[in-house]
Symmetry: C2
Subunit: 319 residues, 2 copies
Amino acid sequence: MLYLNNKDIEEIVDKIDLIEILEKGFQMYGEKNYQMPERMHLNRDDDTILYMPCITKDIIGTKIISLFPKNKEKNLPVISGIMLLNDIDTGLPKGILDGSSITAYRTGALGATGIKHTTGRNCKNIGLIGPGVQGFHQLLLASKVRNIENIYIYGRNKENLKDFINRLKKKLPNINIRPADTSEELVKNSEIIITATPSESPVMPNNKELLKGKHIIAIGSYKYKMREIPDALYELIDEVYVDTELAIEESGDIIQPLEKGLINESQIKTLSEIMSKEKDFAKKTTLFKCVGMALLDVVVAEAIFTTALKLNKGTDIPL
Amino acid sequence: MLYLNNKDIEEIVDKIDLIEILEKGFQMYGEKNYQMPERMHLNRDDDTILYMPCITKDIIGTKIISLFPKNKEKNLPVISGIMLLNDIDTGLPKGILDGSSITAYRTGALGATGIKHTTGRNCKNIGLIGPGVQGFHQLLLASKVRNIENIYIYGRNKENLKDFINRLKKKLPNINIRPADTSEELVKNSEIIITATPSESPVMPNNKELLKGKHIIAIGSYKYKMREIPDALYELIDEVYVDTELAIEESGDIIQPLEKGLINESQIKTLSEIMSKEKDFAKKTTLFKCVGMALLDVVVAEAIFTTALKLNKGTDIPL
């Protein structure tokens, strides 16, 4: 059995095209060529263990993720876990991958795939609200699908923000990266805005004029109570793009506007539906809301695993 | 993160009292001091991936087991998988244990705990129908709770049976171990009979006279269609002992007799209910039917993990 930790995965993802891999995943999603049971979870107080299994024609994988919010106070990762891959023919465990890395890269690539298919091709300015682990990977991958010149980042913890920008500059040395004083300033300067927070109230001003023509990639909300996107945005868009129909059941950024009548279900389209169609989003206001799904995790994990075997990376664990 | 393979676990279980650990597990079960969601599974053709998570006051664990029947033809294990343990305070993965070993030792200890609490104390002759991995561990652990003098084994594949007996003799050198020509001969010679087969029809003669006074430990049936125990036995017993109430939903050896009216639900008692009561089973006919549950896997895995840390066993995997 092969074990791939954080560092192994970091080395490998530089050598593969995660966005292309996710596009294949979305194609499978469109063809319904997989089995993906409803997520199972254990809960205690605010802590959650989340089980995300999926089987496709060629892959068996399960992500098991711990979400322990109080780890933040202990300087430990809030998200941790493993991704297990089994051999498709024999069921034998063949790989264990660091689950937080898989989550971070998959989510980063998911946002980037959204950017590729729902924003203007010439966007050069991008803003991030929520400088955390997920946000970091959003920007890394976004820079692979657009020629980004400027990155603006807004976060309330100024020390954390400074550290975040320093780390990001090392990874993206050719892009101007700077903090924004307010989320309003950030939205004003950016064509694409990524929100990656656990917020329960909108993280951008509820201002139609300000939001008009912007492309929003919303990552954060995965529960009913969580909201990142202000009501005004829904008045500016014809359609809401989602990664999976599960977003309709899971995210406050979809459920609450539906309840308020700001949008209706027929306006919600999955990325797999629109991906193949050539569209010009340059002049449009758009929203891509993603919540993630096991299918995307397993296609990413399998690609990383296969590449690790080829490149002789990782630690072999005797079963 | 600590990884414990088959060999590590084999070394460790010799140093701990698995039956005492399971008794503690049954106590927790009685006190309902745990969270154990319904088992989740992926199915394709005859192949199954089974997810068994459980959280107690002190333990978070998940067993992920592949059941691939066709592996037998490939000379690969039908049951494989992993057991993941997470830190109770931070959720971080702390251990991965070989899942088939955990299953085998847990099931062996489960049968033995059944023997300890539902058979006569002076039983000296034990029979096994179904010489497979589970059966092997049944006998290993049974020998810890009764002073076994003779073991009789019945299996249809004679070559496999011979090999099984040779391997068992090495582990239990002071016990007479011999094959039985028929299951009838086996039942006649044994006071305790363990059935550990995937059979869909009873593996013992449907003969009241023959079965009277025998103690049956039934391991095999975990689906509606699976039956090991003949109808006649149910006429001889006052109560059916089970490890968990889930047996009523899962095992053909419980569901089918209930449907036929051979027993009724009020006769079904869990081991945790009867364990603390002193009872003399010497003259009685008894049936202990177990299907296993995640709670027992996690208490066994945690005990093995804790002991491994103390004894400095296993392979450390950098997260």
